[in-house]
Structure formats: structure tokens, C-alpha cells
């Protein structure tokens, strides 16, 4: 007796085709992510290898451009002696305080300017002009007022971060679709409720863009400030190493600054991932294996 083979229904055939297509897409997405990760890791590694080869073959002057092997060796010494940690902690402390204060103030002011037109009219042009001012240029004034303390260094970072976040927050509010605001009003969201449940969530992507940009700028500013007004920190390490003609230490400082900037940016990106869950909706969702229905 022949076993009865059930012919799949039209709906089942459709579901199977959809599953096959989705699985194919997920596999492709996974493959692309692995490729991107490999490229992200291999590119700097290849550059370092090329640098090492150029130094070993005297294509570049290894006295001025210390090869990665020497730089790493010196870096290991500086880690073991605690010297690098001292400079890292000094810079990170200044950076985090300045970044946090500047970001909070910038977001608050940006939100206020975005929702209260007279304030934007009053402060907008002035802030646009002040934003363009190189903050390192006002450092002598800050030193004059606050002396050789941590305050001028933190303020230089804070002012830089403030303007970036103020501009991005304001921009985030301005780009909110008017239709969304209308719709929210229609559903009864006005005043603070509208602010909390509509305006802030809509402005968040722009705010986080500002936070990411500000992370890199903050590192640049604190490094520059430590060139001229500090006895510790990564900026001081870089500047002082060159003054003493110790290029390996300088490159250790440069690499550490780069890693610091990357870590800070990565932290912001991670926070953004958690804070804006609705932006994850366009990514391929994880699928559970479903049992074949018999």
C-alpha cells in the first residue's frame, strides 16, 4: 500500500518560499557583517605591516618614524611602569567631565531653543559665531581667569562639546515632520507630554549624531590643550616626547589617543543602540527554527 503524500497547500508553499528567501537574506547579511568586521580589523593591521616593512627597508627614516615593533615595545614598557596609565587617566578624567557637562548643557539649550522661538532668535546668531572660534585660541584667557588648574582644560572641552550638541539638538527638532506634530496634537499630546513622547524621541537620532561627532572633537581639543597647559595627559606625552626627541613615546601617545577616541565613539554608538530601539526595526530579525508541520 502506497503512503499518502500530503501536497502542501498554497499557503504553506508561500510560507516555505518566504522562509527560504528570509534565510537567504539573513545568511547574506551575516556574511557581509563578517566581511565588514574582517576589513575593519585587517585594514589597520595591513597599514601597520606596511609601515614596519617601510622602516625595515629604510624607505622611511626609522629615527623619525619609529616602526610599529619599536613603538609597541616602548608602549609595553610604559604600561608596565604605570607611566601610560597616569597620562591616560589624566586625559580621560578631563575629557569625561568636560564631555558630560558640555553635552548635557548643549542638549538642554538646544531643546529650549528648538521649542521656544524667541530664545532661538536671541541666541542663534551669537552661537553660530562663537561655534567657529577655535577653543584652543581662548585657552590663554581661560588660564588668565582660572589659573593653571584643571578648570581651563575642562572648560575648553566643555565649550567645544556644548556647541556641537546645541546645534545638533536644535537641528533634530527642526527636522521633525510637521505632520507628526499635528498628529500628536490630534491624539491629545500637547505641552510637556508632546515634548516627552514626541519631540525628544524624534530628536534623539540627531542628538546621538552630535554626541558621536563631539566624542572625536573632545579628544582633539583635550589633546591640544594638554600640549600647552599641562604637565600630564596624553597631549603632554605627545608634545613632550617630541620636544625631548623620543619619537617612540610620541607614537605611543598618538596611538593611545586614537584608541581613546575610537572607544569613546564606540560607547556612544552602543548607547545609541540601546536608547533608540526603533532604529533597529530595519535590521533582519532573529528567527526561530519552526517545526515542519506534518
Amino acid at each position: 500500500m502506497t503512503a499518502r503524500v500530503e501536497t502542501p497547500t498554497v499557503d504553506e508553499r508561500q510560507r516555505q518560499r518566504t522562509e527560504v528567501a528570509a534565510t537567504r537574506e539573513m545568511t547574506k547579511a551575516r556574511r557581509l557583517r563578517r566581511r565588514d568586521l574582517a576589513l575593519a580589523i585587517l585594514t589597520p593591521v595591513l597599514l601597520l605591516v606596511a609601515w614596519q616593512i617601510a622602516a625595515d627597508t629604510e624607505l622611511i627614516d626609522r629615527q623619525l618614524f619609529s616602526p610599529p615593533s619599536q613603538t609597541l615595545s616602548r608602549g609595553a614598557e610604559m604600561v608596565a611602569s604605570g607611566e601610560l596609565a597616569t597620562h591616560v587617566f589624566a586625559t580621560v578624567a578631563r575629557l569625561l567631565v568636560g564631555y558630560s557637562l558640555g553635552a548635557v548643557l548643549g542638549i538642554i539649550v538646544g531643546l529650549a531653543m528648538g521649542t521656544w522661538r524667541p530664545l532661538n532668535a536671541a541666541l542663534g546668531p551669537t552661537f553660530s559665531a562663537l561655534y567657529a572660534l577655535p577653543k584652543i585660541a581662548i585657552l590663554p584667557l581661560l588660564l588668565l581667569i582660572f589659573g593653571l588648574t584643571e578648570t581651563p582644560k575642562i572648560l575648553a572641552v566643555m565649550i567645544t562639546i556644548f556647541f556641537v550638541l546645541q546645534i545638533n539638538t536644535l537641528s533634530g527638532i527642526r527636522q521633525i515632520d510637521a505632520g507628526i506634530i499635528e498628529a500628536s496634537r490630534a491624539y491629545g499630546a500637547t505641552g510637556l507630554r508632546q515634548f516627552r513622547f514626541v519631540i525628544i524621541p524624534a530628536a534623539l537620532p540627531s542628538i546621538f549624531t552630535g554626541l558621536r561627532v563631539a566624542a572625536g572633537l573632545g579628544v582633539i581639543v583635550i589633546t591640544a590643550v594638554e600640549f600647552v597647559a599641562s604637565n600630564n595627559g596624553l597631549g603632554f606625552l605627545i608634545w613632550n616626547s617630541w620636544q625631548l626627541f623620543q619619537p617612540e613615546r610620541m607614537f605611543v601617545g598618538l596611538i593611545t589617543v586614537s584608541i581613546l577616541g575610537a572607544l569613546l565613539t564606540f560607547s556612544v554608538t552602543g548607547t545609541e543602540y540601546l536608547a533608540i530601539p526603533w532604529r533597529r526595526a530595519d535590521r533582519p530579525a532573529r528567527r526561530r527554527r519552526t517545526e515542519k508541520k506534518r
Binding site: 627614516d61 629615527q63 623619525l64 590663554p140 588660564l143 588668565l144 589659573g147 593653571l148 588648574t149 600647552v228 597647559a229 604637565n231 613632550n240 617630541w242 620636544q243 625631548l244 626627541f245 623620543q246
Partner: protein, 334 residues
Amino acid sequence: MKRSFVAVYGALTVIATASACGNGSGDEADGSVTEITVAHVPSTLFAPLYIAQANGYFADEDLEVSLQTIQAGQDAVPLAASGQVDVVVAGFSAGLFSAVNTGLDVKVVGSMGISTGDPDASPTALEVSTALVDSGEIQTVADLEGRKIAVSGGPGAAGGYQLDVMLREAGLTIGDVEAVNLSFPDMEAAIANGSVAAAVPPAPFTTKMEQSGVAVPLAVPPAGTVATGVIYGGAFADSDAAQPFFDALARAAGELQGDAAKTDENLQILAEATGQDIAVLEEVPFYTWLPDLAPQLDQLEAQQQTYLDAGLFDFDEIIPPETYIITDFSENAG
């Protein structure tokens, strides 16, 4: 015939054009004048350079000198070693000695401004906060132990050596104080707001802070202290232009002896070169210059020792002078 003429004409044009192109400084521009690039820090310390340039002494030696401003001598030492500049006229720093020890091809060939040691007329002084002196907290240089002292470029700079020689006369060294890097214009404010107890500025900053009552001079570098000079790139030192360039410098130094340093003409030249007001230059004490600008070996050794004692080097022995000092140019200056 016509084709041959065009070919020959074209070849001659190419050859002529190639001959006319120089490949940078230190080379002859049109067959008779040599172009030289000199990196310098604008300061009256290097007066012979500006006098020589303004009075045409370099031109007399068939040299065309291009002055490039730098912030610190150390910035230009690697450039001199690689031939990007021919000469550096600036302060000597720990970085110079480290670079020499590493094997960079630079030579110290001359000295520049030398301290007079005159406590009433020194171009550099250890300026101490008037408030601290009046309160009795600081009466002598020895009382500066553990205090913050502003030095442009930090302890590894020429100012660091000058500070060290002044401290040593009081039984201290630069390791007994905290040398803080501050630019000259910021020193007065730092003393005034109590950020630092003292500073080592040159004139006219010394005069300015004394006149404003912010600081008083407590010590000056001993006579003969020198931490600045002339550095040749290795390639330039071997070139035919090296001696003529030095001859022109020494000729200018000869016109800066004694009271001749402050003639109206010289002050005008220095005012234009450094951007300072003539009235200010008239008031401030000047350095002195040896007529032959000979490098001071004992000073260079003492300067190295200062940095060695301060732990600023990766090496631990004085570099032999013959490694990096050439005295021939000053000896032959005519």
C-alpha cells in the same frame, strides 16, 4: 634640414630648462647665488642673523637666505637633519641632544646670545612673585624648592637649563622644583593669579612684569651662560656655502659688540625682525655675542648634564663633543 633644426632647438631648450631648475635650498639658483633656508625663532637672542640679513652680508657672500619662522628650535632639528632646512638658529634643548644621540645628522657650529650675569641688566632673570616675596615666603632662591616655576618649553628647553644654573647657585637643581611649560606672554598672568611662584622669561617680559609690580628678579644666569646657537644640517655643513654663511654671521656679530649693539640702525633692524617695539628694545638689556660666535663646549656639556640629572634622556652619558660640534667655521671666520 628644418626637422633637424627643430630637434636640436628642442633639445637645447630642454637642457637649458633642466639646468635652470634647482632642487631646493642649499643649491645654486642661477649659477652664482646659493639659496639657503634658515629656521629661526624670532628673538633678539639671534641678532647677528637679522643684522647680517638686513645689511646684505649674506648677499656679499653670494648667498640668498630665506628665513623661516618656527616656534621652537626642536621643531626644526629633524628638518635640518633631513635637508628640509639648511640652518637652525634657535635654542638648544634636550631634544637636540637626544636627536644627536639617535644619530640624526646635525652639527652645532656656533653660539648665539650669551648671558651677561649682570643682576641689574640681565636679559633673562628668575622673576619671583612680588606677593610671595613681600609675605616673606620666598626670600632666596633656595626657598623656591618644591614650587612651580614657569619655563617656556618645560624643563627640557633652553630655559630649563637657564633655570637650573640659577638654582644650582642656591644648592638646588631643576629636579627640586616643578617646571611648568608656559609661553612667555602667559607667565605674568600665571604669577599674578598664583598659579606659579616664579618664571624664567626673557626681556622684554622681565621688564614688563617688574614694571607692573607682579614680580621681582631674584637671580640671573651667571655670566657666560649660553643655551642657544647655530645648527647646520649635516649635508649643509659639508657644502661650500657653510663657511661663507658663518662668515656673514660673524661679521654681523662683530658689529654687536658693546654699545654698538644698540645703535638706531640695529634697533630698527631688530624691531622689524622680531616684531617688538623700538622703544621697548631701547629699554631692555641685551645679550652679548662672541665676535666669532664660537660654540661653547663647556656650556653644551653642562646643558647635557642638566638634562641628564633631570632624567630627560634615554641615555646616561654625555655625548662626546666631536660627535656633533664643529668649531672649524668659527675658527676660520674671516
